[in-house]
């Protein structure tokens, strides 16, 4: 058996679509077998249909995934593999929580919310920068560094949540709920908040403009295909790497602020178990979009719908809490397999003696 690189790769859209379909089929089988026939494919299709058609329900997940997906896309475009979305996200959550709870800005909703987003942006950017500096100047692979930074971030947030910030009244391992004035404004009939929606649209437009019209956008794109070209045209490769990761972290950090203001309203220990996992799910969104900005919302919509479908299966009284992960996991796995198949083909050569 040999593995040969395809001369002509498969059409690029086929991989994400096929990954979705096959991934779902696999999850149906897994859930059917694991539940001993209780969760039928019919239940799952029903839930998926429900997930896809209830725009109001998936809006919140969708918007957060779009932001995180775009954030990751910025670095992925430059072939900088930022796996540290979770860490940057939670650094954003932490700083936003600080603004809402302890900074004293909470008296004015507008100032407080703006500060939450700004501080989260700085925090996320800073956290990404810690991985970007060794990548740019010492050429240390960013994948393990960003990944490990996630856990550092988790434990920092855990430490402060059960220590200094722990709510005193009942001694629960969490912070108190943020003041009403700092909660983002829910749009009636949906799960999304106004601020989150605005943030999502703004980020989308800004990143689109950046890739379309600015030299930074171009430099990041060239970085992935041919860093030597950058070097020969007198552009600092290090600076481009720094910028790609910094921007990525900043955008994801803002998603953290939006999550705190729109969804969680407090931080609850242990973070690594309570996390919605957008930093990781965002990777799937970015990949399913084939690193096309326009396709990010589509991918986020699909994943958001599957997320709703997962909760729905639970509500139907037939599934456990892990259904969502079965969906996401199967799709990601299928994607990884298919992306290999799309670039390489497996030939079985029978040797004749």
């Amino acid at each position: 058996m040999v593995i040969v690189r395809r001369v002509k790769p498969l059409p690029y859209w086929i991989v994400p679509v096929l990954a979705l379909v096959v991934g779902l089929l696999i999850s149906m089988i897994i859930l059917y077998v694991m539940s001993g026939g209780v969760i039928t494919p019919y239940d799952i299709l029903l839930s998926i249909y429900y997930g896809f058609t209830n725009v109001g329900l998936l809006a919140k997940t969708f918007a957060l995934l779009v932001i995180v997906g775009i954030g990751l896309l910025v670095s992925f475009k430059g072939a900088i593999w930022n796996i540290g979305g979770e860490g940057q996200f939670y650094m954003g959550v932490m700083l936003a929580a600080w603004v809402a709870l302890f900074s004293g800005f909470a008296f004015n909703g507008f100032i407080a919310k703006t500060m939450m987003i700004l501080m989260a942006l700085l925090a996320g950017g800073f956290w990404a920068l810690l991985a970007a500096l060794p990548r740019a100047y010492l050429n240390i692979d960013e994948v393990p560094v960003t990944l490990m930074m996630n856990y550092i971030a988790y434990y920092i947030v855990n430490y402060i949540t059960i220590g200094e910030w722990r709510e005193k009244q009942y001694g629960y391992y969490r912070t108190v709920t943020i003041p009403e004035s700092t909660m983002f404004q829910v749009i009636d009939g949906t799960t999304i908040t106004l601020e989150l929606l605005i943030l999502m649209i703004t980020i989308f437009i800004l990143v689109w403009l950046m890739f379309k019209y600015t030299s930074l956008g171009l430099r990041i794109k060239v970085l992935s295909s041919n860093p030597n070209l950058l070097r020969s045209s007198g552009i600092s490769v290090q600076l481009t790497i720094l910028m790609a990761l910094l921007l990525s972290g900043m955008i994801i950090g803002m998603a953290g602020a939006a999550y705190l203001g729109s969804v969680s309203h407090n931080i609850s220990y242990p973070v690594e178990e309570k996390t919605p996992g957008y930093g990781y799910t965002g990777i799937l969104v970015a990949w399913l979009s084939m690193l096309e900005l326009i396709a990010v919302p589509i991918a986020a919509y699909i994943i958001g719908a599957l997320h709703t479908a997962g909760i729905n299966i639970q509500i139907m009284g037939v599934g456990g809490a892990a259904v969502v992960n079965v969906f996401i996991g199967s799709i990601l796995l299928t994607y990884a397999v298919l992306i290999t198949i799309s670039e390489y083909k497996i030939k079985i050569i029978v040797k004749k003696r």
Binding site: V17, Y42, Y172, I315, G317, A321
Partner: protein, 493 residues
């Protein structure tokens, strides 16, 4: 595979999935059409509400209970915990079986606080109009969602925040813990009693104190210097942590009787293991235990002495009946606050329920021992066995018929510690035999009656003293943040 076959396979798959999804959708759409009357009700309600608001608010909102009531239960742990969530689910199933004509229920298990919001969003979008959230930390989120969905009735278990469409309910075990404590005080030989606490919320502190008060009442008379060692594990459902906390108490603090607040059976199984080992001569002291929330005797027939059992179904049947009858609406739950004790039957003293429905109050294995230990009942001055003492206190707690109506609303809790009253005669010149009779409102006696002294949990140097004869009221119990002096709080594990 080349490109063509791959595309072919993909298209076929797409068609299959598409067709299947289409049919699924059709069926689902049909389902929705059936529930359309429910939908109409909701719109009517919205309209009525708007009208009332323009008319200047106030009462008088009209709410018609739907034909079929769809009630959802959100649990903090898995229903398989055989503890808190399991017993809530028993309540749900009882209600659904009894009210099968008009009640449809569902449940969502293992919901953490941060997932509660989206779970409620999902439930509401599927037309569930009654939602029970069954964990203390769901309180703020439930209120928040109550504001977001003003036409849904929410009931939050164990909290104290309410609004017009969020009521609260709780079945409290402190009397039962006190009865368990009496037994613990008689059984302990090492004089060290243990308590594994999930968190130290006011509820758990109250239970620890009641347990400690009972233990001391008997232990003191037998010349024991009772200490109650408390370890907090920081989770409601954490079998591993619970087990290791029990192990620490047994090994390090020489504890031989244990009570706990955790939602699994891990401690019962551990205690069974130790007690069995003690009886085989392997260990120098046993670990007797009181089962929590569910009838846990079967998990430790040698170690479980007694325990606390809850009957959530009592509350669920009541709430759902009142919703169906139109008594509870999304506009009048602001003062709905159930607080059930032994008198109402919402909780029970025991470790096991036999197949015929009767309760085993005390494990038969321990009855002889308890009957042989003699103490003085401080209320009557008579010398009786511990067994008789426990049973007479149990009867006393059960027998408080006038207490039940006061336990249903937030505005009447303040009367719950009125001991007895005498009604004045209509005409003082004419003799009225009834005016001379003591009418008992609450139970004859309560464990939380002074003299008691303790210390504040978060600030041990701050002392608390309850003077002789003072009986704590509902709010004092509800906000309890202090331990009695002989409780040793070892902090979080």
């Amino acid at each position: 595979m080349d490109v063509k076959t791959l595309t072919g396979v993909f298209i076929i798959l797409l068609i299959i999935v598409g067709v299947a999804a289409f049919y699924a959708g059709m069926m689902y759409g049909g389902g929705q059409a059936q529930t359309a009357p429910g939908g109409t009700v909701t719109t009517t309600v919205t309209r009525t509400e708007t009208k009332t608001v323009t008319a200047g608010g106030g009462g008088g909102q009209v709410w018609t209970p739907p034909e079929t009531i769809k009630a959802a239960f959100v649990y903090v742990g898995p229903i398989g915990d055989f503890g808190w969530s399991y017993m809530h689910d028993v309540g749900r199933r009882v209600a659904e079986t009894v009210y099968k004509d008009w009640l449809k229920t569902t449940y969502v298990e293992s919901v953490t606080e941060d997932k509660l919001g989206e779970t409620i969003d999902n439930l509401v979008s599927q037309g569930y109009s009654v939602i029970f959230t069954t964990s203390f930390e769901f309180m703020d989120k439930t209120i928040e969602k109550g504001e977001q969905y003003p036409n849904v009735l929410f009931f939050h278990c164990s909290g104290y925040k309410r609004r017009q469409n969020v009521g609260t309910y709780f079945a409290d075990l402190y009397q039962v813990y006190y009865l368990n404590g009496l037994i613990a005080g008689a059984l302990t030989k090492t004089e060290n009693i243990g308590y594994v606490a999930g968190y130290t919320t006011p509820e758990v502190i109250r239970h620890i104190n009641a347990f400690a008060i009972g233990a001391k009442e008997v232990g003191e008379q037998l010349g024991k210097d009772i200490k109650v060692h408390v370890i907090e594990i920081g989770a409601w459902f954490a079998p591993d942590k619970a087990r290791s906390a029990a192990e620490t108490l047994w090994k390090q603090y020489n504890v031989d009787v244990l009570a706990f607040t955790e939602d699994s059976t891990a401690i019962l199984e551990y205690a069974q293991e130790i007690t069995k080992g003690y009886e085989e001569g392997k260990y120098d002291h046993p670990l007797y235990v009181f089962s929590h929330y569910s009838p846990g005797y079967i998990y430790g027939p040698d170690a479980v002495v007694s325990g606390q059992i809850v009957r959530w179904e009592l509350i669920y049947l009541d709430i759902l009946a009142k919703i169906k009858a139109g008594i509870y609406t999304p506009y009048n739950l602001g003062n709905v606050d159930y607080w059930y004790l032994l008198n109402s039957g919402g909780v029970e003293f025991g470790a096991h329920i036999y197949k015929n429905g009767t309760v085993m109050h005390i494990n038969p294995k321990f009855i002889q021992t308890l009957k042989s230990i003699m103490v003085t009942d401080k209320l009557t001055g008579k010398k009786i066995s511990v067994y008789d003492l426990v049973m007479s206190r149990y009867e006393m707690f059960k027998n408080a018929p006038l207490l039940t109506p006061l336990q249903l609303t937030a505005v009447t809790h303040k009367y719950e510690n009125i001991g007895k009253i005498n009604i004045p005669p209509v005409n003082p010149s004419q003799p009225d035999p009834y005016s001379k009779i003591d009418i008992y409102i609450s139970t004859y006696w309560d464990p939380f009656t002074g003299p008691l002294s303790g210390y504040v949990k978060d600030n041990p140097s701050q002392k608390v003293t309850i003077p002789e004869g003072q009986r704590l009221g509902h709010d004092d119990l509800w906000e309890m943040n202090w331990f009695v002096d002989w409780v040793v709080y070892h902090g979080a594990a």
